[in-house]
């Protein structure tokens, strides 16, 4: 081990281990979230949900993964091949990069970049490009409509997403996620900024294309939206990215408003995952409660309510910081 470290250098070894760890977290998170989603949806409709594979159906997600791996990968005729093949890869890479900067504990972070939150947002905006590639490359009207919708939606909701975080960044004078968590030693920022938290969460749900903002893949009208023509492992990559994005949105909300890994008695990493999955549960809860919004409602809500309110809050925060 020491020889390897001497040859390639400490930083490289650290990054490789971090990347492997991130991959594990991504996959395990998807297994957990899909299981939670199906169990919660079952119980909310007074069903049981998966229960046959393993205790409480816990291994069901693995069985599904094996099924997807074993599936024949079908490429429809007349697709624009480069775009069609590129899309699932382009949607998956930003997810990995975002995980790199998330502090799971005070010592557990692959890399503490001083513009951490900007890295997450810069890369997650790439997913829009991927949806557009998938929609355009598939040569399918449903895919194209779904992709167009999702691009308009993501552009509209990325603005309140970042604006809602800016008051917190003002208060702790840093873009680094670790600094933000350390600044919440005494009191969580959700106490100072309840409205930005709400705005961030709503915009986050919209950003991950989840119900009630799932117009991009509206099952009842667009088959499956941008991933209509994808099957097997290519579909699995979209699936993986979707659930990982939920985790990232919830993790950032935890870091910025709920104190990240701070908490009494239990180790930090456990606090971090408790808070993150509590938020993920709420997102799943939304999905099985709310009907889909109409497209004009969706855009109106972002441009006419979320953005003005978050700007107002930003102004107030800036003024208060100047005075105090």
């Amino acid at each position: 081990m020491n020889e390897i470290i001497n040859i390639v250098g400490k930083e490289v070894v650290r990054n490789v281990i971090g990347l492997v760890g991130v991959l594990v977290v991504v996959v395990v998170n998807v297994l957990i979230l899909t299981w939670v989603e199906r169990k919660v949806s079952g119980h909310m409709q007074r069903r049981i949900g998966p229960k046959e594979v393993g205790p409480f159906g816990l291994i069901q997600a693995i069985a599904d993964g094996i099924k997807l791996l074993g599936k024949d990968i079908i490429t429809p005729e007349d697709v624009k091949k480069p775009l069609y093949f590129l899309a699932p890869i382009v949607i998956f890479i930003p997810v990995l990069v975002s995980f790199v900067v998330i502090p799971f504990d005070s010592f557990l972070q692959v890399k503490d970049i001083n513009v951490g939150i900007l890295v997450i947002f810069a890369f997650s905006s790439l997913s829009v490009l991927s949806l557009l590639l998938a929609g355009w490359g598939s040569n399918n009207k449903y895919s194209l409509i779904g992709a167009m919708r999702s691009v308009a939606q993501n552009i509209a909701y990325e603005i309140p997403l970042l604006l809602a975080l800016l008051p917190v960044i003002f208060m702790c004078n840093s873009f680094s996620l670790k600094d933000v968590v350390e600044a919440q030693k005494g009191i969580w920022f959700v106490v100072y900024h309840p409205i930005p938290f709400l705005i961030y969460f709503i915009a986050g749900v919209a950003e991950t294309n989840r119900t009630p903002f799932d117009l991009a893949e509206a099952e009842s009208e667009l088959v499956a939206g941008f991933h209509t023509e994808y099957s097997g492992m290519r579909f699995a990559l979209f699936f993986l990215a979707e659930y990982s994005n939920i985790f990232i949105i919830c993790a950032v909300a935890t870091i910025f408003f709920l104190g990240g890994y701070q908490g009494p008695i239990l180790p930090g990493i456990i606090w971090f995952f408790i808070k993150t999955y509590a938020l993920a549960f709420i997102i799943v809860w939304f999905r099985w409660t709310f009907p889909r919004v109409r497209f004009d409602q969706l855009l109106n809500f972002s441009w006419k309510v979320l953005i003005p309110v978050s700007f107002l809050w930003l102004l107030i925060t800036g003024g208060m910081l100047k005075i105090l």
Partner: protein, 149 residues
Amino acid sequence: MSMTSPSAIIKGAYSLITGLGVTLKTFFMPVVTVQYPRQTCEIPPRFRGHTKLVGDEENPDRTKCVVCMACVKACPSHSIKKIEGEKKEGEKKKTCTEYILDFTTCSQCGICVETCNFDALAFSADYNRAVYTRAECQFDLVKEYEKRK
């Protein structure tokens, strides 16, 4: 009132929270799914399965059927294919020895049950009657009675 007016937002938020309350309540309610092969539902008393022969209370060896053939005549789809009986010694009535019901055409209309003057026919609670061939759908109700006994 536009969607973005403050009162509309407050009203909408209230309705969303109400909705969340509804789903949370059902989340903690007991499930209603019955795990079929392992659990079964109780069959209601008026459930219509295929017909069965009712046993004679005084003599459990025989059924109440006296081979009067009224059900054969009454059956609108000619599903009762064959009824055979014999008169045993020391008994006044005939005893049914074979009662073939063609379940492929029987629609459980119950006319045979209503027609029977001796209350010898009734609906069974048996619903697991999926078979592989048509021949297996020819039920001999006397044999089934014997098995049940």
